[in-house]
């Protein structure tokens, strides 16, 4: 039995197979409508996340399975003080697979140690968010046709943005990927990503604070939201939340075949006037997220591809 806790749990080859399956699902959706008949996914969301939870639920429903779960800690037995390990033992009796989001880092790992069903990390604090990474990889591969030989700009909250950390970890495994890390000083990439991931793998990267200057170089621009819930100090949040706003003027600086991704939800870091630009790919990204989660559920449940 396998879990997905970290984007690196899957090798490059396994990710390639998973994305191939997701792509086949995208083009032949009706063929997959019953491959998970009778299977259940438990979505254990200890903190609110409409998008990710609905994506998992949509994915399982598309496969013919059903869903159960909770959408906040207050509506779960965690409110009564139940531990993650006890909760997962209980859930293992009810469902075939589970997706867990938790505000505390490492909670899905704790669950996996006591689970008899596959555990998918659906985001743990500022730590990892592997299915967002798979979504990002699928989006990039579908739009650019490759996961190598590109310049990726990551913009906004690079300190607490777990999607950014996970994406960097995943992309450094592909050849000739260069990063422009665009953030204010306070929200720079953590030292362990800079040293242990980028420098340790001899990856070319530049840390800059100007989005305008970076735009012409990019093949992918990955925007992020400055997340209020990651700050202990409200004043810091207010000071930093509007540090980058992508608008039409900035888009004019970009290549014609550059694409803008965002893990969503956005607040105001991407102006709505950008939404109609064909290079704005963040809503397509949401759709890819469902396909890749369908592929992941099938893979972890060891469900065969339909003939």
């Amino acid at each position: 039995m396998r879990h997905l806790l970290n984007p690196l749990d899957f090798s490059v080859e396994e990710i390639s197979s998973l994305l191939d399956l997701a792509s086949d699902i995208e083009h032949n959706l009706p063929r997959y409508a019953h491959v998970c008949d009778g299977k259940k996914i438990a979505t254990l969301f200890y903190e609110p996340s409409t998008r990710t939870r609905l994506s998992f639920e949509s994915a399982m429903l598309n496969l013919g399975g059903s869903v159960l779960g909770f959408s906040s800690a207050s509506s779960s037995s965690a409110a009564k003080g139940e531990s993650v390990s006890d909760t997962i033992r209980m859930v293992s009796c009810y469902a075939d697979i589970c997706a867990m989001r938790h505000p505390k880092e490492g909670a899905p790992l704790v669950a996996s140690l006591h689970s008899s069903i596959p555990v998918i990390n659906a985001g743990d604090g500022g730590h990892q968010h592997p299915t967002q990474t798979l979504t990002d990889l699928m989006t990039i591969r579908s739009l650019l046709g490759r996961l190598d030989n590109m310049t990726v700009g990551l913009c906004g909250d690079l300190k607490f943005g777990r999607t950014v950390h996970s994406l960097i970890n995943a992309l450094v495994r592909y050849p000739n990927v260069r990063f422009l890390l665009i953030s204010p000083t306070e929200l720079k990439i953590p030292e362990y990503i800079r040293e242990d991931v980028l420098r340790a793998n001899n990856i070319e990267f530049v840390e800059v604070d100007s989005l305008d200057a970076a735009m012409p170089e990019l093949d992918i621009l990955y925007m992020t939201r400055v997340q209020r819930e990651r700050f202990f100090n409200e004043e810091d949040y207010i000071r930093l939340k509007d540090c980058y706003i992508l608008d039409k003027a900035k888009m004019k600086l970009a290549k014609d075949h550059m694409f803008v991704l965002h893990p969503l939800p956005r607040v105001n870091e991407i102006s709505v006037e950008v939404d109609d630009d064909p290079r704005a790919a963040y809503f397509r990204q949401v759709q890819y997220g469902v396909y890749v989660r369908m592929a992941l559920i099938m893979t972890l449940l060891e469900v065969a591809k339909p003939c």
């Binding site: 531990s83 993650v84 938790h102 505000p103 505390k104 880092e105 490492g106 909670a107 790992l109 704790v110 743990d124 604090g125 500022g126 730590h127 362990y192 242990d196």
Partner: protein, 141 residues
């Protein structure tokens, strides 16, 4: 000259970095044992200038050398039987340590689930870096 009697059976922890002996005393749980323990601080050492030494009397099979390896893998462990050194153990940085250090990341699951063991793994031997198994936060010695 300070005289401390020799051991007929026990363990001598030698080449402890000067000033670290009390940390080791508590980390090894020696305060909870009833055997005789001698702590020698700031002993002269040709190799180290000054060093600490701990002498522990009696058979101590349960002594957690993993902890010792984490604290200072340069310590020499001498096993004494019948008044003689019968074995000299050298220590290595342990790959994994359990309940020796605590994760300080307020966002780590261990910050709210008190019963979880605090497990760290060695992520970089050259820099002797340990990371929390759960949140991967680096632990600074």
């Amino acid at each position: 000259m300070l005289n401390i009697s020799g051991l007929s059976e026990g363990i001598v922890l030698d080449h402890i970095q000067a000033g670290k002996s009390l940390d080791i005393y508590y980390h090894l749980g020696l305060d909870k044992l009833e055997c005789q323990v001698a702590i020698i601080k700031n002993a002269k050492s040709s190799k180290m200038g000054r060093k600490d030494i701990i002498k522990i009397e009696g058979p101590l099979d349960s002594l957690n050398l993993e902890v010792l390896g984490y604290i200072d893998h340069n310590i020499t462990v001498n096993i004494i039987r019948d008044n003689k050194i019968v074995e000299k153990k050298t220590l290595k940085l342990p790959r994994k340590i359990t309940n020796v250090i605590q994760c300080k990341n307020p966002r780590c699951i261990t910050s709210i689930e008190q019963e979880l063991p605090h497990i760290f793994y060695l992520s970089d031997t050259a820099t002797e870096t340990y990371r929390c198994m759960y949140c991967e936060e680096k632990y600074g010695k």
